[in-house]
């Protein structure tokens, strides 16, 4: 029997004496990833919003949207990535494995977007001119492709995470693309009233409603499919539906971020003549906040597959 004094003496020993790890019992406990935090959330989120806005602004020839989208991706998203990196001065090394790594492919697309996006904006604003209309079109198309790839690669990074059952799903990339378009429309509708451009707001509202509905549907499909996925994925889903993040996910993402905007846009479309355009901006702001909360939920619910116990 160890005396109380002896126990106290052992407990008083400094941490450096404990060279051997604390007992790591194999239980059904599911650990949550702690490597990616708020800065990573911001980098993925800003990339989604920025590319969504940029692509829509290309379609509607909206220069302010192009500039804001470009800055969100090239300055803010990249800034967040550098902030999240422990060795930012080695960041160029990210270009080494485009053959197999989605992060590397994403880095290439950001690089292409940063260069061609600048040229695209210059052509559209008249800061640069050329008589070769073909060149302008090619630059515009390549920029759009790079923007779409930036939007999509994040989903594939998540889907490749074999250790995290909830992310390791083919629905995640589709959902992230859908959410990015949704947030792109949202920011577009927030910015559009502040310019002199004349947009067909009812048409924009219909398209926004469609992306909101698609995103909501995809989230419900994901949560339904999760029941047939691994135990760690089910654990992650229960964290979102009934657990620690239920308020953020249920109220923030689903209700305030998707269902309320759907109702607002629906009301706007039903009463287009009488309804105020600022309703769309309110729906947009709610969707943008909801999108951030969605990325936070997705990262926070990254539950590791147990090492030993069958999953």
């Amino acid at each position: 029997m160890i005396s109380n004094e002896a126990t106290k003496r052992v407990e008083a020993l400094p941490a450096y004496t404990r060279l051997i790890p604390e007992r790591q019992e194999i239980t059904s406990k599911y650990n949550v990833q702690t490597d990616w935090k708020i800065v990573e959330v911001l980098s993925f989120y800003l990339g989604g919003v920025g590319t969504g806005l940029y692509l829509l602004s290309q379609v509607f020839d909206y220069v302010i949207g192009l500039i804001v989208g470009y800055l969100l991706v090239v300055v803010c998203k990249n800034g967040a990535h550098l902030l999240a990196s422990s060795k930012p001065f080695r960041a160029m090394g990210v270009l080494r494995k485009p053959g197999t790594s989605w992060i590397s492919r994403g880095a290439y697309s950001i690089f292409i977007f940063a260069v061609l996006g600048l040229a695209d904006i210059a052509f559209r604003t008249g800061m640069a001119t050329t008589e070769n209309a073909m060149l302008v079109s090619v630059v515009s198309i390549l920029t759009a492709m790079a923007a779409f790839f930036i939007m999509a690669y994040v989903g594939f990074v998540f889907a490749e995470a074999r250790n995290i059952g909830f992310w390791n799903s083919p629905i995640i990339p589709v959902l992230i693309i859908s959410y990015s378009f949704c947030m792109g429309y949202a920011l577009f509708l927030v910015l559009a009233p502040f310019t002199a451009n004349q947009f067909d707001f009812p048409a924009l509202a219909r398209q926004f409603l469609l992306t909101l509905a698609a995103t909501t549907l995809l989230i419900f499909i994901l949560l339904t499919v999760v029941k047939r996925m691994t135990k760690s994925a089910q654990q992650a889903a229960s964290m979102l539906i009934t657990g620690k993040y239920s308020l953020m996910f249920g109220f923030g993402v689903i209700i305030a971020g998707l269902l309320v905007p759907i109702c607002i846009v629906g009301y706007y479309l039903a009463n287009a003549a009488a309804a105020s355009g600022s309703l769309l901006s309110i729906a947009g702001i709610l969707t943008i906040i909801g999108g951030l909360l969605f990325e936070m939920c997705l990262i926070s619910a990254g539950v590791y597959r147990p090492i030993v116990d069958a999953d």
Binding site: I20, Q24, I26, D35
Partner: protein
């Protein structure tokens, strides 16, 4: 072609953590970082209780997700199947930790000295501070192996629960043990084809 691998005899392991210590001494890892762990499992109910130990380390997969997904090429697979890493290329994306199904990769967030008086001579020799903010993992003590020695954990294990050798040689001790004892790979269903086999 040689393919290095390891067998872990679960009947022989007594959970003494000698391999954990040997690994720490060989690699000079900072506090809190373990490239090798021994997990414990308690099953049954009193009075019929059984405690078992499951040592884990990098599985040196044939199709390693860390090699494929690391954007900066920190991890690479040698011709002999050993997955090695170069911390000087790591910029801290940590995607390796998300894709490894065995939680075998450690991320050295911050290096603190073992003793309050500061870094000792041996800690300075290991130069752990240069590894701060980078990933690390078991490399089968490849420098020892290329010199004809066994990995530190295998050499140290007092019950000889760990064996190391060529999986492609049917006459090697590890191949014979896997065949005789029905050795199995952890999470074989994921298709990574690990080089570490557990002997039930």
């Amino acid at each position: 072609m040689i393919r290095y691998g390891m067998t872990i005899d679960l009947k022989r392991c007594i959970g003494c953590q000698s391999c954990t210590m040997a690994c720490k001494m060989k690699n000079g890892t900072p506090p809190g970082i373990f490239y090798r762990k021994v997990l414990e499992k308690v099953t049954g109910t009193y009075p019929n209780i059984k405690r078992s130990y499951i040592p884990t380390n990098c599985m040196h997969c044939d199709d390693p997700p860390c090699v494929r997904n690391c954007p900066s090429g920190v991890f690479s697979k040698r011709d002999d199947g050993v997955v090695i890493y170069d911390p000087s290329k790591c910029y801290g994306a940590r995607v390796c930790r998300m894709v490894c199904p065995y939680e075998a990769i450690s991320f050295i967030e911050k290096v603190e000295p073992y003793y309050p008086s500061g870094f000792t001579k041996i800690e300075k020799y290991w130069d752990n501070q240069s590894k701060e903010g980078t990933a690390g993992k078991c490399d089968f003590c490849i420098d020892r192996v290329t010199s004809g020695l066994k990995p530190a954990c295998v050499k140290t294990c007092p019950t000889e629960a760990l064996k190391f050798g060529d999986l492609n040689d049917p006459n090697s001790e590890v191949s014979k043990l896997i065949l005789a004892r029905g050795g199995y790979q952890m999470h074989a269903e994921l298709g990574t084809n690990p080089s570490v086999y557990y002997l039930p």
